[in-house]
């Protein structure tokens, strides 16, 4: 099982599993301007300024799920009736009645200020997926504006961990998700931090991303500048418990400043975790040698 990339548009790639002679699409990654065309495993961060623009994005995304015979869910952060917001789906009440669609106001189902409980959420979502599959659906598709869940620093921290945890789940089970966050309400820095743990992002200014790849590995992609090294280290500190070893595919990484490599090496040294960079380019291998990195393992491109 290896991964490779197929070009899909200018910035988008597909991450694939090679199973025998065939390639199975695991998920897409990149910068996108649309929530259309997503499939199981796809996880998009939709940062926005204008909340009124969200329902149209959700409708297009959810309609494709209904066509794929998925159970679809809409969580709004507003105060208006969520069924009204997505009325363009058509026959919303019937869809809800038949169990195809769920439409909820997030503030009414979440406790304000409470940090997300990862174990509780994980069992709720995987339970829901099992039920949906048992009921004949092909998967679960969710559009959620999570802004109200990430307002305080504690909430933000817990939510980042949750995103990283659930991103891995999405490569194991047929989930498709769009996570919306208001940059205006959360601030650019917090919104960017959340975007970094998604394989697909809307904001082209998100410099690098770290997300789940195949075979338990992580994928680090984009560009890690000197100014990003602290953020990278913080993401590694919040990684879900992956055991003693973590493999990071850097085959698509366009650039990493030496501060980023030092940060990863420091993380490996202080946690005792075996961090392996896979598919490292010649320049990454050269930098690691020049920096005399002691704790991370570097594997080159085959």
């Amino acid at each position: 099982v290896i991964d490779t990339s197929l070009p899909r548009g200018r910035e988008e790639h597909l991450i694939c599993l090679r199973v025998g002679a065939t390639l199975r699409v695991l998920r897409s990654c990149g910068v996108t301007h649309t929530a259309a065309g997503m499939g199981p495993g796809d996880h998009l961060c939709w940062t926005y300024d204008d909340r009124d623009s969200l329902p149209a994005v959700a409708v297009e995304f959810l309609a494709e799920g209904i066509a794929r015979r998925e159970k679809v869910l809409y969580f709004s952060s507003g105060s208006a009736d969520p069924r009204e917001e997505i009325s363009a789906l058509g026959a919303v009440d019937d869809l809800i009645e038949s169990g195809v669609l769920g439409a909820h106001l997030l503030p009414s189902v979440a406790t304000p200020g409470k940090a997300i409980d990862i174990a509780e959420q994980d069992s709720a979502w995987t339970g829901m997926l099992t039920e949906a599959l048992d009921a004949g659906f092909t998967g679960v598709r969710v559009f959620v504006d999570s802004t109200p869940l990430t307002r305080t620093p504690e909430q933000h921290d817990a939510f980042l961990r949750w995103e990283q945890h659930f991103d891995r789940r999405m490569t194991e089970m047929p989930f498709t998700g769009v996570c919306a966050f208001s940059s205006r309400e959360l601030g650019i820095e917090a919104a960017t931090a959340l975007a970094r743990v998604h394989p697909l992002v809307r904001d082209p200014a998100v410099s690098f991303r770290l997300f789940a790849g195949d075979d338990g590995a992580l994928v680090l992609t984009g560009e890690v500048g000197a100014e990003d090294s602290l953020a990278l280290e913080q993401l590694f500190e919040r990684l879900p418990d992956t055991g003693e070893a973590v493999a990071v595919d850097v085959g698509d990484l366009r650039f990493i400043a030496h501060q980023g490599l030092l940060a990863l090496d420091r993380h490996a040294a202080t946690t005792g975790r075996v961090v392996t960079l896979r598919h490292a380019s010649k320049v990454v291998r050269r930098l690691s040698e020049l920096l005399a990195l002691q704790s991370i393992q570097i594997e080159g491109r085959p």
Binding site: G225, A257, H258, L290
Partner: protein, 315 residues
């Protein structure tokens, strides 16, 4: 020759004939070998052959194949330092190195090797050993000989032992007061000018410029990291505005990054593999390892670092 060096003795020999060279280097090596001190000889092919004839193959005598002219000064310093450390770690009480340093008389620009000579005294100062840099007066330009006298704390006259050199000047001041000579490309209008670029913007613009050259893609990848490090350094440690200028030909790329600050606190940061981290000098140190040539200018406009990919300028 008997002398107990305090730690590292960096000396130069200027000779006029091959026999002057042999009369000095052969006893210098024999004395060391007799005391179980390893000897490293790093000369070009001709002189190496001559030394082999005089000294033969002996236990503890290491001939360094080829000359240093194909290497970067920073790489040479790093390699020599780790070789010397290894010899001492293996139990040698001390070591001796003899060799020749590239200069225009043997086909290399002098500015990088001037910095090498200045920095060597400092970079190797904690190692118990001697190095003797040998210059053939017949082929060495006068301005190089002047610098040899400024960069070596000891001088060795042919056939005698090293003597303290009164003209020696500490490396930091020497290096910061010597601007890199202009690259011929710098006399032309730049192909690219960026004001206060982000490192990412600088990488993209220089990558685009590099596409028009025939430089090896892996050298270009190294060069982009260096250009990025230069902009990051100027932004983090220098003073705004930061200006980037770049020139290209079919086989060369030159990038100058200038800020209005006074430059690195330690002008040797880029050449020093030991103190690089504590000085925050990783950036400059990597730049020195990743470019084919690096030059510095400290002047009334601020601090400029010039990076070159590809070969030396064609005359």
């Amino acid at each position: 020759m008997s002398m107990n060096p305090p730690d590292y003795v960096h000396t130069a020999l200027v000779y006029r004939t091959d026999s002057e060279l042999l009369d000095t280097v052969v006893p210098f090596a024999q004395d060391a070998l007799a005391a179980d001190e390893p000897v490293v000889a790093a000369f070009g092919d001709g002189t190496t052959a001559m030394l082999r004839e005089a000294l033969g193959e002996q236990n503890g005598l290491i001939y360094f194949a080829g000359s240093m002219s194909g290497l970067r000064p920073a790489t040479s310093l790093r390699n020599f330092r780790s070789l010397f450390e290894q010899l001492l770690a293996d139990g040698a009480p001390s070591f001796r190195a003899v060799g020749e340093v590239p200069h225009p008389g043997i086909g290399s620009a002098w500015d990088p090797w001037f910095r090498y000579e200045a920095a060597a005294t400092r970079v190797l100062e904690d190692l118990a050993g001697w190095s003797m840099c040998c210059y053939d007066e017949r082929s060495t330009p006068d301005e190089v000989l002047d610098d040899v006298a400024l960069t070596h704390p000891y001088l060795t006259a042919p056939g005698s032992s090293p003597q303290a050199n009164e003209r020696f000047e500490p490396a930091e001041r020497l290096v910061s007061s010597r601007p890199a000579p202009l690259d011929p490309l710098e006399e032309h209008p730049p192909a690219l000018e960026l004001l206060d670029p982000t490192p990412a913007a600088a990488r993209r613009a220089v990558a685009q410029l590099a596409e028009g050259t025939g430089i090896d893609p892996s050298d270009v990848a190294d060069f982009l990291v260096a250009a990025s490090e230069a902009v990051t350094n100027a932004t983090l440690h220098g003073r705004a505005p930061v200006e980037l200028q770049a020139w290209s030909t079919r086989d060369r790329l030159v990038v100058c990054v200038r800020d209005r600050g006074a430059g690195p606190v330690n002008p040797l940061a880029g050449l020093d593999p030991v103190r690089r981290a504590t000085l925050g000098g990783f950036g400059l140190w990597l730049i020195e390892q990743l470019c084919s040539q690096v030059g510095y200018r400290y002047d009334e406009h601020g601090f400029t670092v010039r990076l070159t990919a590809g070969g030396p300028p064609q005359p």
